[in-house]
C-alpha cells in the first residue's frame, strides 16, 4: 500500500505563519460547513462512520469519545489537543506543528462544536517551546478572522514530564498540579478537566477531522484495514539512511516503511511505539502496520545487527523508571526493579532466576498499574524474552 497525504496534506505547501495560504487549501471550509449545515450530532456521526481511532497510541474510536462527552450532562465542557509528544522516537507532531498549525486549530474547533465546548486547550510540551509563538499565532489569526467565535483556545505549555502525555496526567497539569495519573472511572468524557466532561485527542487525530467533514466519513473509511481506517504518520529514526516523517495508509507492511522508504540495512529489530512500544524482530518485518497488530503513536526506531538487545531494553527501562510519576507502586517500584535486573544482565551477572522475576514482575505491572505507562512498561522485556531469549541465556552463561 502506498504513501498518502491526508494529515500531511499542507505540510511544506502552506506558510505556517499565514492563514491566507491555509485558506487557499480549503482551510476552515470544514468549520464553515458544519456551522452552516450540520448539527453537532451529524458531525459526530460522520466521524464515527470514518472509523477514525486515536493516533496517540491507545486507538480509542474518536467518534465514540466525542459522543460520550456530548451526551454527558452539564453545559461546561472542554476539548483538549494533546501536543505533549514525549514518546521516545516520536516527532511527527513537531513536524505537523512546524508546518501546519492551522489544521490543528480547525480540528480542535470542530471537536468543540461537536462536543458542545466553548473552551479548548492545546497542551504543548516544554521541549517544543520554540513552536509556541507559531502555534499561538495560528490561534490568533483564526480568531481575528472570525473562525473562533464562541470558542476560545488557550495554548498551555508543559514543564518537562513524559507522563503528562497521558490524558489524565495532562489534565492534572493543565489544572496546575503534579502530572500524576488519575484513577478511572470516571473517564474524562464524564469528569475530565475540572471534573467537567472533556475530550482529549492527539494532534494527529484532530488533523484528520477537517477532511473527514469535507470528504465524508465514507471516503475516509475506504482507506486502511477493517479495524484501522485512514492513514498514520510515522516517525522513523535510528539505524536508517533516511530518517524522517512518513504518512502511510494503515495496513501497509512495516517493511515498506523501514526498508524501502527509510532505507535501512542489516536490521536486527524495530521498536514500534517507543519506550512503551513493542519490539519486532526483522523476521516479522512484513507485519502490517495497524491497530490490530502494532502501532502505538507511530514511533519506529530501527536497530541494526551491531546493537545489543539487552542494552536497548536496559535503556528503555531507565527512561521509564525516570519518567514514572510515582503515584502507583507497581510502576514506580517495578520499573526500578527492572532497571536493576537489566543492569546486572548487561554486566554479565544475570542469573536464570532473574528471568522468572522479570516475567512475574511484568505480569504484575501490566495488571495493576494505574495508567498506560506502567501497564505498557514491561513490553520491551516481555517481547525480547519472547524473540531474543538467547541473548539473555548467552549473557547468563557468560558468552
Amino acid at each position: 500500500m502506498p504513501q498518502a497525504r491526508v494529515v500531511l496534506k499542507n505540510c511544506g505547501v502552506i506558510d505556517p505563519k499565514r492563514i491566507s495560504t491555509y485558506r487557499d487549501r480549503d482551510g476552515f471550509k470544514a468549520l464553515e460547513k458544519v456551522r452552516r449545515e450540520m448539527t453537532p450530532e451529524e458531525v459526530i456521526s460522520e466521524v464515527r462512520v470514518s472509523g477514525l481511532r486515536g493516533r496517540g497510541g491507545a486507538g480509542f474510536p474518536c467518534g465514540i469519545k466525542w459522543e460520550g462527552a456530548r451526551n454527558s450532562p452539564g453545559d461546561e465542557k472542554y476539548v483538549i489537543g494533546n501536543a505533549d509528544e514525549g514518546e521516545v522516537g516520536t516527532f511527527k507532531d513537531r513536524y505537523i506543528l512546524e508546518n501546519d498549525p492551522f489544521t490543528l486549530v480547525e480540528g480542535l474547533a470542530l471537536a468543540g462544536y461537536a462536543v458542545g465546548a466553548r473552551q479548548g486547550y492545546i497542551y504543548l510540551r516544554a521541549e517544543y517551546h520554540y513552536l509556541l509563538d507559531l502555534l499561538r499565532g495560528a490561534v490568533n489569526q483564526a480568531r481575528e478572522s472570525g473562525f473562533l467565535d464562541g470558542f476560545a483556545i488557550d495554548v498551555r505549555e508543559g514543564a518537562g514530564a513524559y507522563v503528562c502525555g497521558e490524558e489524565s496526567a495532562l489534565m492534572e497539569s493543565i489544572e496546575g498540579r503534579r502530572g500524576e495519573s488519575r484513577y478511572r472511572p470516571p473517564f474524562p468524557t464524564v469528569a475530565g478537566l475540572w471534573q467537567k466532561p472533556t475530550t482529549i485527542n492527539n494532534v494527529e487525530t484532530l488533523m484528520n477531522i477537517p477532511q473527514i467533514i469535507l470528504n465524508g466519513g465514507g471516503w475516509y473509511s475506504q482507506m486502511g484495514t477493517e479495524r484501522s481506517q485512514g492513514t498514520k504518520v510515522f516517525s522513523v529514526s535510528g539505524d536508517v539512511a533516511r530518517p524522517g516523517v512518513y504518512e502511510m495508509v494503515l495496513g501497509s507492511p512495516l517493511r515498506e516503511l523501514v526498508d524501502d522508504l527509510a532505507s535501512a540495512r542489516d536490521v536486527k529489530l524495530v521498536q514500534i511505539g517507543g519506550a512503551t512500544g513493542r519490539i519486532i524482530p526483522y523476521e516479522m518485518i512484513d507485519t502490517p502496520l495497524a491497530f490490530e497488530n502494532i502501532l502505538g503513536a507511530g514511533a519506529v526506531t530501527v536497530f541494526d545487527k551491531s546493537r545489543d538487545v539487552l542494552d536497548i531494553v536496559h535503556r528503555t527501562m531507565e527512561f521509564l523508571a525516570e519518567e514514572s510519576c510515582g503515584k502507583c507502586t507497581p510502576c514506580r517500584q517495578g520499573t526500578e526493579a527492572m532497571v536493576e535486573i537489566m543492569e546486572r544482565f548487561c554486566r554479565g551477572e544475570g542469573q536464570e532466576k532473574d528471568i522468572k522475576v522479570l516475567e512475574d514482575l511484568s505480569d504484575t505491572m501490566m495488571l495493576s498499574s494505574l495508567c498506560g505507562l506502567g501497564q505498557a512498561a514491561p513490553f520491551a522485556v516481555t517481547d525480547t524474552l519472547k524473540y531474543f531469549r538467547d541473548d539473555y541465556e548467552r549473557r547468563i552463561r557468560g558468552n
Binding site: R178, T301, I312, F319
Partner: protein, 148 residues
C-alpha cells in the same frame, strides 16, 4: 452558583494556577526560590509542600539557581544510536563540568534529558529554548561560543 462550581472558576484563573505561576517565576528569576514558594503558598492559602510538590515534579522547573544558559543533551535511544555519548564527553571537556553541574562562572548548567523529539536529526540538544541538531564534536565549541 454552587460551591463546587465557584471553586472551579477560581481554579480556572491563571493567577491561581500553580504551574502557570511557577513557570512565570522561572522565566523571570531563572529559578524558583524557597522564599518565592513560601510567599506563593501563603497568598494561595495552600501548604508549602503543595507548591514544592509541583515545582519539583517537572524537569524544566529549577528549585536551585542554574547557570545563565541551560544545556540539555538528549540521551534517549535514537540519540544514543547516533553517539550522543561523544557529544556529552565533548561538552564535559569543553566546560570542565559533569551532568547536573554548573560552571563556576555561572555561564552554563549541563543536564542530560529524555527524548526531545528531534530524533530525525540526532544527536540533538536544547540550549535554553533553542534546538541544536546533527551535533558533532567539531560543532560544539562554536555553538557554545554563541551563548554568553
Amino acid at each position: 452558583m454552587s460551591k463546587a462550581s465557584k471553586n472551579i472558576s477560581v481554579q480556572n484563573q491563571e493567577s491561581q494556577n500553580l504551574l502557570v505561576v511557577l513557570k512565570e517565576a522561572q522565566t523571570r528569576y531563572g529559578y524558583i526560590s524557597q522564599e518565592f514558594m513560601a510567599e506563593l503558598a501563603d497568598s494561595l492559602g495552600v501548604p508549602v509542600n503543595d507548591v514544592y510538590g509541583v515545582a519539583s515534579f517537572y524537569s524544566f522547573l529549577a528549585t536551585r539557581p542554574p547557570g545563565r544558559n541551560v544545556i540539555r543533551i538528549c540521551k534517549s535511544l535514537p540519540c544514543y544510536l547516533k553517539n550522543c555519548q561523544t557529544i556529552i564527553e565533548t561538552i564535559e571537556k569543553e566546560l570542565g563540568i559533569r551532568p547536573g553541574e554548573t560552571t563556576p562562572d555561572g555561564r552554563f548548567s549541563f543536564e542530560l534529558t529524555n527524548c526531545i523529539g528531534l530524533c530525525d536529526r540526532a544527536p540533538a540538544m536544547l540550549i535554553n529554548n533553542d534546538a541544536h541538531v546533527g551535533l558533532t564534536p567539531e560543532k560544539i565549541s562554536r555553538i557554545l561560543k554563541s551563548y554568553k
